[in-house]
């Protein structure tokens, strides 16, 4: 849906004004439309995609490449290491070894079509990175295409048994997601097609709202027992990830580390979804830029930074974002929406079908309708067929390669021969908000709001 806001134009009050009419800054057209939509629906709005407001972002940070005090590497000539190992903490037989510190985050079959899942798996395998099942169980095509597949154990436990556990290259215990912390997944009935229903053991066509609380553990102490059970069941062959939404990051990361996570995935409020009560997208969690530094510090305070790996997701859309996340302390980033956009999400094709949904390329967030015009977030066979797996996989592979080229170029400009050597000292903030959240100085100052000056 397009924003109903017009330009404020030249008017001294700075308030929106249209042909002499003044719009209330409080009850603007967006707010009026919200209320009237709810007055029709009788419930909260549901939508896909990500949030609808501006927040401080990794974008508000800049790097300080080498000049006089540092020596840069030749960006176009010298090499820069990108290999990333996740999950060696408890000595499992097969830690996840990625060729790059970027992987495809958890997105379910159900939210996504089978061929979108297959294309993401194929792209990840071509790159040498991993994908994650998301909550809908383990799709056979995804397992086949993905050389490294993280199997997500959500509270709903779809398809979870020994057979599927042992097919996984890592287990991710999901404690929530950045899009809607504290609330379970949502899959509208239009997408609960035959195969989706079967994999989730659900009646076909119901509006599925998944559980949020795990059925057999509640806190860090019993989670520790649970993680040990998973290690025993997998004979300690594979690492255990714990994914959490970015809320009380310092405390939550410490509890997950204490409970025995090998890898902690922190999903910022930008984290997207196939469907969510819309207000949760805008009003829950903290931005990714704030989550990374806090998570790193939490692990440092426990003496576990570097031993427990940190993955960050939520709104990562470029190599610059990824490099900043690494500099702030992440070992890797996971991408979701950016990978879907590379697949074809919001591509300017099949425009009539966008129009039928009341939207247009560049504005579509209609994943929840199950009528995705480009065949990604749908279970309709005719729409699904619009996504060619090989061509889509090629685009995602290209995009991740482009991200990694951006990361390595940035690292070399900062004088680093390994992207993991980027550090928060390499960063400055363009806004006071980002400086306070990322715990890096405001550009041109030594000031980190809320902290003593470093020097």
């Amino acid at each position: 849906m397009s924003s109903p806001h017009g330009s404020a134009g030249d008017n001294p009050t700075g308030r929106p004004e249209y042909g002499g009419m003044r719009e209330s800054p409080l009850w603007d057209r967006y707010t009026i439309e919200e209320i009237q939509a709810k007055a029709q629906l009788g419930r909260y709005r549901i939508s896909g995609f990500s949030l609808h407001r501006r927040i401080p972002r990794l974008d508000d940070l800049v790097f300080l490449p080498a000049a006089m005090t540092r020596l840069p590497l030749e960006g176009y000539r010298e090499s820069c290491e990108t290999k990333t190992v996740l999950g060696a903490r408890h000595g499992c037989a097969k830690p996840i070894e990625l060729s790059v510190p970027v992987y495809i985050t958890s997105m379910s079959f159900g939210a996504l079509s089978w061929n979108a899942k297959a294309a993401l798996g194929r792209a990840a395998s071509a790159i040498g990175t991993c994908t994650c099942t998301g909550e809908g169980g383990m799709l056979a095509e995804e397992r086949e295409e993905s050389s490294l597949l993280v199997y997500q154990m959500t509270p709903s436990r779809y398809m979870l048994d020994l057979e599927h556990l042992r097919r996984a290259d890592a287990i991710e215990v999901a404690m929530g997601q950045g899009a809607k912390p504290g609330t379970g997944g949502l899959l509208p009935g239009a997408k609960v097609a035959d195969r989706v229903a079967e994999m989730r053991t659900l009646p076909k066509g119901i509006d599925q709202r998944s559980a949020v609380r795990h059925p057999d553990f509640l806190g860090a102490d019993d989670m520790e027992v649970k993680l040990e059970e998973l290690r025993i069941a997998t004979d300690n062959q594979v690492p255990i990830f714990v994914k959490m939404p970015a809320t009380r990051v310092r405390e939550d990361v410490k509890m997950a580390a204490k409970a025995g996570a090998d890898v902690i995935v922190v999903d910022g409020m930008e984290g997207a979804t196939g469907a969510s009560p819309e207000f949760l997208l805008d009003h829950t969690g903290i931005p990714t830029v704030a989550a990374v530094a806090t998570a790193r510090e939490a692990l440092e305070e426990m003496g576990l930074y570097g031993e427990v790996n940190l993955v960050v997701s939520g709104g990562i859309g470029s190599g610059a974002d990824a490099a900043k996340a690494l500099a702030l302390g992440a070992d890797a980033v996971a991408i979701g929406t950016a990978a879907l956009i590379a697949l074809n999400c919001n591509a300017p094709i099949y425009q009539d079908d966008y129009a039928r949904l009341g939207t247009a390329p560049g504005f579509c967030h209609h994943c929840h309708t199950g009528l995705c015009p480009v065949g990604i977030t749908t279970q309709e066979p005719d729409l699904v067929a619009r996504l060619d797996i090989q061509a889509a996989a090629d685009r995602v592979e290209n995009f991740i390669n482009a991200m990694v080229l951006e990361m390595t170029l940035m690292a070399k400009a900062c004088g680093k021969s390994n992207v993991h050597n980027l550090e928060s000292e390499d960063l400055r903030a363009l806004t006071i908000e980002a400086a306070a959240m990322a715990h890096v100085p405001l550009a041109g100052t030594d000031w980190i709001p809320g902290r003593e000056a470093r020097r």
Binding site: R157, D161, T201, P203, P215, D216, F217, T234
Partner: protein
């Protein structure tokens, strides 16, 4: 083998020719590794001194020995069971037989929270009482309880059958999909969207067979069948008042 507390007792139903494994002195990983090795070569195992430790008998597969735990077990006993037969001669902690796909677990005692959580198949028999959230998120199989089940049992059950012959706590069968609950005796209250329906001939036949196989007596009090009404399955503004308060 050391002389131990559990070894000197006699355990009804445990054959004398069972091969014994002493859990004392082994951490959970070592214990499970040894148990898996022994379960592949013997038909009948008895575990001495389980001492309510967690994670005993995890991920056992079809063809494994029948395993008797001689005493109480802790959390997640028989978790990810893929076909083994397990008998616990004592009580069990949280998450007994969670994510089980096949096999049978019998507890000659009572269980704590969340027995059979998310199970996809197989049978759990509990001769005592079962705690809260028994059969939560279950997706198949049977849970047969001689006594009571605690509050929120059958919560969000997808499929499968939960039978409680001694009554149930509050919020029984809350927010289920296609699971079925049969309960005899007092029920403190039904959960959201749970509704009582009449038992049919198929139900009765199944229950007679299940209880007979489990060695449980037919209850003196009448059985009630609880299912989902399905009013929470769809977002419909006419049901907004139901949604609002749950």
């Amino acid at each position: 083998m050391n002389r131990s507390d559990s070894a000197v007792r006699t355990w009804p139903g445990v054959p004398a020719d069972a091969v014994h494994l002493d859990a004392d002195g082994l951490d959970a990983r070592e214990f499970n590794r040894k148990l898996q090795e022994l379960a592949q070569v013997h038909d009948l195992l008895a575990v001495d001194n389980p001492r309510a430790r967690h994670n005993l008998g995890i991920g056992l597969e079809t063809g494994a020995a029948h395993i008797h735990f001689l005493g109480s077990v802790g959390y997640y006993c028989g978790g990810f069971n893929a076909g083994a037969e397990i008998t616990v001669h004592g009580n069990a902690g949280w998450g007994l037989g969670e994510a089980m796909a096949a096999g049978q677990i019998t507890v000659r005692g009572s269980t704590a929270w969340s027995a059979g959580a998310g199970m996809r198949g197989g049978t759990i028999v509990i001769t005592g009482d079962a705690g809260p959230r028994t059969g939560i998120a279950m997706k198949g199989g049977n849970i047969l309880v001689a006594g009571t089940v605690g509050f929120m049992s059958g919560f969000m059950a997808h499929q499968g059958k939960l039978v409680a012959l001694g009554g149930a706590g509050d919020a029984l069968g809350a927010s289920m999909y296609e699971g079925r609950i049969f309960v005899a005796g007092p029920v403190a209250g039904l959960g959201a969207d749970a509704i009582e329906r009449d038992l049919d001939g198929v139900d009765l036949e199944e229950l007679r067979r299940d209880l007979a196989q489990a060695g449980l007596a037919w209850p003196a009090q009448p059985l009630h069948k609880i299912e989902a009404e399905g009013r929470l399955w769809y977002f419909d503004k006419h049901d907004a008042r139901i949604w609002r308060n749950i």
